[in-house]
Symmetry: none
Subunit: 134 residues, 4 copies
């Protein structure tokens, strides 16, 4: 049994994206998806080290960055906690999620590997670039 809503990190070591940055992005994404909310506790540095075989300093650096962004707060002796969140547009959210999931399934059925899917995505992002906020 879980002790509450937390986050499981992953590292893609071949992506070229720095590890600390992957952690930061994953927390930000979890905030945007409502997976993490203010008051939630992030896994301890040592937990993360056990989970994904990474150096404690790297985890620590990611947490420091998040703290500087005002999103989390480290409390010595008790852990690191979410302070602020990054809201996702709530209404259409679940519909969008389901549609996208269906699309990914279709793409996978069509034999596309991750790199191919990523190619389509960045292309779609580019070709619609002027149509929305940042």
């Amino acid at each position: 049994m879980d002790t509450g809503p937390t986050i499981e990190f992953r590292l893609d070591r071949r992506s070229g994206v720095p590890a600390y940055r992957q952690l930061v992005d994953q927390v930000r994404q979890a905030l945007r998806l409502g997976i993490l909310r203010p008051g939630d506790r992030l896994p301890t540095v040592r937990d993360v080290v056990r989970q994904i075989a990474i150096n404690p300093n790297t985890v620590h650096r990611a947490y420091r960055e998040l703290e500087q962004q005002g999103l989390t707060e480290g409390r010595p002796g008790s852990g690191t906690f979410v302070k602020e969140t990054l809201e996702l547009v709530p209404d259409e959210r679940s519909a969008l999620r389901q549609d996208l999931e269906a699309w990914v399934r279709a793409a996978r059925k069509a034999g596309l590997a991750d790199e191919g899917i990523a190619a389509l995505i960045t292309e779609a992002m580019r070709s619609t670039e002027s149509e929305g906020p940042s």
Copy 2:
């Protein structure tokens, strides 16, 4: 009107991904999308330098990497050319592209910024992970 089948590079300097790696990835994506095909010529190093303010050595390195992957071929005196391609499953391709583009448009209309869209995408990739080829 385009001057022909070539590629326009972009750099995201805040992403943490090394510049040379961004170039390589963009060529690979263009190959997968059929934007670049065998025989096409890549922009010269000088062109790229003018386009995106980057050090020539960095561009060289990216082209070297592509050549090592067997995808391109430098012909001294005339440029760098595409040798091999990375094909996308052809049939469903255009349908998938259009569907995805429509989805992105919808997400943008719903007020989602790039980071929010990225969050939904990685979530969808994860939740369907077991269903296709890596």
Copy 3:
């Protein structure tokens, strides 16, 4: 002969203030005093290491923090540069400076050591606390 307006760091190792934090504060103060201005180059990490016998990582961390505060910008291969400044109220500045210097001189003549002066200062800050901006 100096190559331009730069900054010389100092460390007070007995103060209890973390070294990286002392560096950050000194840059911020130099910005407020107009000693450093946008476009100026900070000493390289290696320079600072030579100057004050500190670990490169610690200097690096201070510079990273400044970059996250939007004040500086690291350009690989060429150095770290001031991007934004923190303006000091300009008019009364020089008068205030001279008055304060005179006061410090008087305090020193009266036999006060640094800790004594610091005591008077924090007391004066407290007793006038409600009268100004943060």
Copy 4:
């Protein structure tokens, strides 16, 4: 009206200075300013905990440090008392205090925030550094 010669602690949690160290410094400053004098009683650990939301162990540690410096004395069952003091040059003291207070008021009126004032102060300390005791 005050309830007697005691001391009110404050913590600046963002300063990077260890909490126990802030307490020690504040007692030393109070001694230098004559706010605390031999025989005075420091607030109990419990009082401090109530005042500033700190761990009792941390307060204990600060009091232990003060005792080691010979400045205070714990009397089991009755509290912690000031034993020695750190004298300020007595004569000019009040004049200096008033002058400094006036200066701070002027600086605040000029729109300077705390960080700006701190910048001017450390600059003045530096530029007069050679003129007095440590």
